[in-house]
Amino acid sequence: MLNTKEVDLVVVGGGPAGMAAAVAASEAGVEAIVLIERQARLGGILPQCIHNGFGLRFFKEELTGPEYAHRFMLELEKHPGIEVKTGTMVIKVTADRQVMTVSAAEGLVCYQARAVILAMGCRERPRGAINIPGTRPAGIYTAGSLQYLMNIEGFLPGRTAVILGSGDIGLIMARRLTLEGIQVKAVLELMPYSNGLNRNVVQCLEDFKIPLYLSHTVTAIHGQKRVEKVSVAPVGADLKPLVEKGFDLACDTLVLSVGLIPENELSLQAGVELDPATGGPVVDSFYHTTVEGIFACGNVAHVHDLVDDVSTESAIAGRAAAAYLRGEIRGTRWLPVKAGRNIRSVVPQRIVTGQATPLYIRARFPERDVLLQVGRGRSRRRIVSPGETIYYTVKPEEISETDGWIGVSLEGGEIDD
């Protein structure tokens, strides 16, 4: 027979989001918590992110990924109410909060939870999703899998590489490859600006004189068995390659850092509504999704620049789940966010009235000297860019219920080129 266990809270995913949410829920008084992680150990992607730059916002000191994860593992040890299940994969979540799991240790186990926090994180966009023409040889890696192979497994994955995409992982891996003696011929970016943090462009590329080609892409992959070279071309304003201006770069490895996709297959099964702008669930100020008793936080909700923000947000979700289990925060009043000029996404999408809500806002294109408007609130920003989160905490007095929504927009900027 199928084994069913009743618990207060199931947290799906033991990365930074899941760990912070479980700890916060436990601190807020939730007793029976199960934290489920599919990998053999906690930490999610952090153990392979051996570089520094984590923790400045949350711990006020600079940590590496493994160190950041370690802080939370120590926290978890203080909470005996949190039962950690590693090597366990969630295969189904239902709207009535049944969570079906599989593991080598226990086989198939079903949890009936009173609340669920979704913290599955995100995955990398593969080659097929961006439809690069050419052959299908060995030597094509997404940046994250390359990072895993090098930093956890200790393998040498190639000798000469080209990186497509200037997101943070792509930039970090350009430096990492270089330090290990692998020649990085170029980092290519489809857009006219880098998608990563400026500091990473400086310390990962400029420090090592790795060329960054903005407005360029890979137009073909060559090599029958192993990558032999890639064809590269600049793109026009419509982002279409100008093949006649193209050139080839010889390499045995192509690294893709072309975007992250929140992993919401389980959320969809549970009937949670997704926001097409973020790829994650529509949530309110409590990170409560559109399905009663199911919360979502971390990169499953929206892709973050900084793990520190994941921790902060997930603690909100953890405390909110605790409040929900006490019978609070049900049927709270909220207003939807309405994205205006130069706004790609805003999280949370539903703002609970009568309290302050920290917002994560993303611009569509880079601009200088803009005015950020959120409801009745105003704030000047020197630079906005799609690669960097815009932070704003909307206060209760900036919200007018009579509007029926909260407008968010960037006004009067100068386009940055």
């Binding site: 053999a40 051996i50 493994p66 930093n151 500091r199 630079i383």
Partner: protein, 123 residues
Amino acid sequence: MTELTCIVCPVGCRIRVDRDGNGLKITGNGCPRGLTYAREEMTAPQRTLTAVVEVAGSDCMLPVKTKVAIPKAKIWAAMQEIKAITVHPPVTIGQVLKEDLAGSGVALVATGTIDQDEKRENL
């Protein structure tokens, strides 16, 4: 005039540095750490180096870092020393693995923990 992107924190302020007689005039930094960064970057740039080292008897790696930033010019020499290191478990997070890495005066420390009997973590 030099324009720098501050790498102290993820905000990435754009700092302007102008020669001002014998000194430097630094503007655009969002905080005092930016001031220090810009001054150092112009005179003796520093970077924290992170990498992995081999673990005897295991096929997973141990992550490491320089305890504080080291001179940028010493990064390659430091990397060569790191490549030659093999640690023996157990290793605890924060443990010093090598003092005075590449003559920088800075220690190399473990940023992860490896138990005595840890062979492989995944699978």
